[in-house]
C-alpha cells in the first residue's frame, strides 16, 4: 500500500516535471490574442462598438468585457471569424450598435467648407487633407467610412456617398445544390 502511494507520487512528480519542462522549452510563440482579434476587425475606427477605435475594442474583447457582436462594419463575417478564433458561439449582430451597411466614403462640399480643420482633427486615419483657412478635401481611397468627421463640421458640408465599387471585384455565389444542404447551412 505504502509502496503504491510512493510509486504513484514519484510518477506524478516525474511527469509533472517533464510536462513543465516541455511547456517552457517547446513553448509555441503566438501573437497575443489582442493582436489576433485586432487583425480580424475592419479598422474603420468608427467607435460604433462604444470603444474609441478598433484596438480598444479588441482589448475589451480579450479582457472579456465586450461581446463579439458589436461591430457593424465588420458584419456577420467578422462575428463568425471572432467566434472561430475565440471558441465562442457566433451570434447575430447586436442592433444597438448599428446595422451592417455597404461601404461608404465621405466627401466635402467645397463651396461650403470654411477651412476650420475640425474635421481633420476628428479623422482617425488622417484621410482629410487641408490646413487652417485652406480648402479641405477627403482622400477617398483612404476614407474608411467611419463618419466621425460629420458631427464636428460647423457648416455641415460633409456628405456620405457610396464607395465606388472596384470593377475588378466580382461576386460569385456559393452554388446551392438542394441535397447538399445540411441543417447547419440553413
Amino acid at each position: 500500500m505504502l509502496i503504491a502511494i510512493i510509486a504513484l507520487s514519484v510518477l506524478a512528480i516525474a511527469f509533472g516535471l517533464l510536462l513543465g519542462f516541455a511547456a517552457v522549452r517547446y513553448k509555441v510563440k503566438t501573437n497575443p490574442v489582442v493582436d489576433q482579434i485586432d487583425a480580424l476587425l475592419p479598422q474603420t475606427q468608427c467607435g460604433q462598438c462604444t470603444y474609441p477605435g478598433c484596438r480598444p475594442y479588441a482589448e475589451a474583447i480579450a479582457a472579456d468585457e465586450a461581446d463579439i457582436n458589436q461591430c457593424p462594419p465588420g458584419g456577420q463575417t467578422t462575428i463568425l471569424a471572432l467566434a472561430d478564433l475565440l471558441g465562442k458561439d457566433p451570434k447575430p449582430l447586436n442592433d444597438e450598435h448599428g446595422e451592417h451597411a455597404e461601404k461608404t466614403v465621405v466627401y466635402i462640399d467645397e463651396n461650403v467648407c470654411i477651412g476650420c480643420t475640425l474635421c481633420i482633427q476628428a479623422c482617425p486615419v488622417d484621410a482629410i487633407l487641408g490646413a487652417a483657412k485652406l480648402m479641405h478635401t477627403v482622400i477617398a481611397s483612404e476614407c474608411t467610412g467611419c463618419d466621425l468627421c460629420i458631427p464636428p463640421c460647423p457648416v455641415d458640408c460633409i456628405h456620405i456617398i457610396p464607395a465606388v465599387e472596384d470593377t475588378k471585384k466580382i461576386s460569385v455565389k456559393l452554388p446551392i445544390a438542394p441535397l447538399l444542404i445540411n441543417e447547419s447551412d440553413q
Binding site: P178, L179, N182, E183
Partner: protein, 326 residues
C-alpha cells in the same frame, strides 16, 4: 473512349451488387438458403429504416433511396452474419448500422465509420452466442427448415448440424496447442483443400467479383492489393510458428469480401492514392493480429473500424504533390 467509372452513385452500387452475386451463389451452394433469407430481411430493414430516418431528418426521400447505398450495406452485413441467424439479429444489426452508423452522422457521404462493420461489431459484442451458430457445410437443411429457424430460432438436431467456422475451429483448437495440420485432419468437415471447406469457394467467387469491379473502375486497385499483400506478408512472416499459411488467410473468413467490398467503401476509406495503400495495409495488419493473437476469430471488422478512425489523418499527410509543386 476512356474507361471511366459508372457516372452515377446508383450505377456504382448496382455494379457492387452484381459483383456480390457469384459469392452469394457459392454461399448458397455450400451452406443453404439461410443466407438468402438473411439478405431479404436485411435489405427490407435497411430500406424501411432509411425511409424513416430520411423523413425524420426532413430530407428528400427518392434520390437517397434510389442510390442503393443502404441496400449494399445491408447485403454486406448479412454476408458477415452467420447463416442461421434469427430475424431479430439481422434486424437489430441493420437498423443500428443505418440509424447510428449512417444517418446520425449526416447520411450518405458523412459517416466516418463503415456502417456494416459497426452493425456487425454491435452484434458480435452483444449477442456472442447467436453470432456463432454456423451451419455445417453440406448439411443440406431444407428451405422451410431455414425459414423456421429464421422465425423461431429452433432447429431439430441443431447441435449436430452446427459447427464453428473454420477460423473459429482453428482459434479454439490452436488454443489447445494443436497444430493446424492436425486440426485439419481432426476436423475434416470443416477444412477444405487449404482453407475452410466451402469458404475457399466463397472467397474465390468474391475475388472474381472484385476483379470485375476493378475492371469496371468502380473501385481502385490500391485498397484490395495493399490489404491482401499486407495480410499475406504478415502471415508469411509468422508462418512457420503459427501454422496458418498465407493461403489460408487469404481464402478464409471474410478476407476477399473485405478486400473488394468492405474496405473499399468509398465514404469511409482514405481518399488519396497513397493514403489508400496505407489504410488497407493497416487493415491487413490488424486483421492478422486479431486473428492470431486477439480474442475474436475474425479481425476484419475491428481492423476496418480502427483504420476508419485514422483515415482523415492519413489523407492529410498523403496529399499528392500538385502540378508544379516543389
Amino acid at each position: 473512349m476512356d474507361n471511366i467509372a459508372p457516372s452515377s452513385v446508383t450505377r456504382m452500387m448496382l455494379n457492387v451488387i452484381y459483383a456480390l452475386i457469384p459469392g452469394i451463389i457459392a454461399y448458397v451452394v455450400f451452406f443453404g438458403w439461410g443466407i438468402v433469407l438473411n439478405i431479404l430481411v436485411a435489405v427490407t430493414t435497411a430500406i424501411v429504416t432509411e425511409i424513416i430516418m430520411l423523413q425524420l431528418r426532413k430530407r428528400p426521400i427518392k434520390p437517397f433511396i434510389m442510390d442503393g447505398s443502404a441496400v449494399v450495406t445491408a447485403i454486406l452485413l448479412a454476408l458477415a452474419l452467420p447463416n442461421l441467424a434469427p430475424w431479430w439479429l439481422t434486424f437489430i444489426g441493420v437498423s443500428f448500422a443505418i440509424i447510428v452508423g449512417k444517418h446520425l452522422y449526416g447520411g450518405l457521404g458523412y459517416n466516418p465509420f463503415n456502417p456494416a462493420m459497426i452493425g456487425y461489431v454491435l452484434l458480435l459484442i452483444s449477442f456472442p452466442l447467436e453470432m456463432t451458430v454456423w451451419l455445417q457445410p453440406d448439411s443440406n437443411i431444407s428451405f422451410s427448415q431455414n425459414l423456421n429457424y429464421l422465425l423461431h430460432a429452433t432447429l431439430n438436431n441443431i447441435d449436430a448440424m452446427t459447427m464453428a467456422t473454420t477460423m473459429d475451429t482453428v482459434k479454439t483448437q490452436s488454443g489447445l496447442g494443436l497444430s493446424v495440420t492436425s486440426i485439419q485432419s481432426n476436423f475434416p468437415t470443416v477444412f477444405g483443400q487449404f482453407a475452410g471447406k466451402g469458404w475457399e469457394w466463397i472467397n474465390l467467387m468474391f475475388l472474381l467479383g472484385g476483379l470485375w469491379l476493378l475492371f469496371r473502375r468502380v473501385i481502385s486497385w490500391q485498397i484490395p492489393t495493399a490489404f491482401l499483400i499486407s495480410l499475406a506478408v504478415m502471415a508469411l512472416i509468422f508462418y512457420p510458428s503459427t501454422d496458418t499459411s498465407p493461403m489460408y488467410h487469404l481464402f478464409s473468413g471474410a478476407t476477399m469480401l473485405c478486400a473488394f467490398f468492405i474496405a473499399t467503401d468509398p465514404v469511409t476509406a482514405s481518399t488519396t492514392p497513397n493514403g489508400r495503400l496505407i489504410y488497407a495495409a493497416g487493415i491487413g495488419i490488424f486483421a492478422y493480429i486479431i486473428r492470431t493473437w486477439g480474442g475474436y476469430p475474425d479481425g476484419i471488422a475491428f481492423g476496418v473500424l480502427l483504420m476508419n478512425m485514422a483515415a482523415p489523418m492519413i489523407d492529410y499527410y498523403t496529399r499528392p504533390k500538385a502540378f508544379g509543386e516543389s
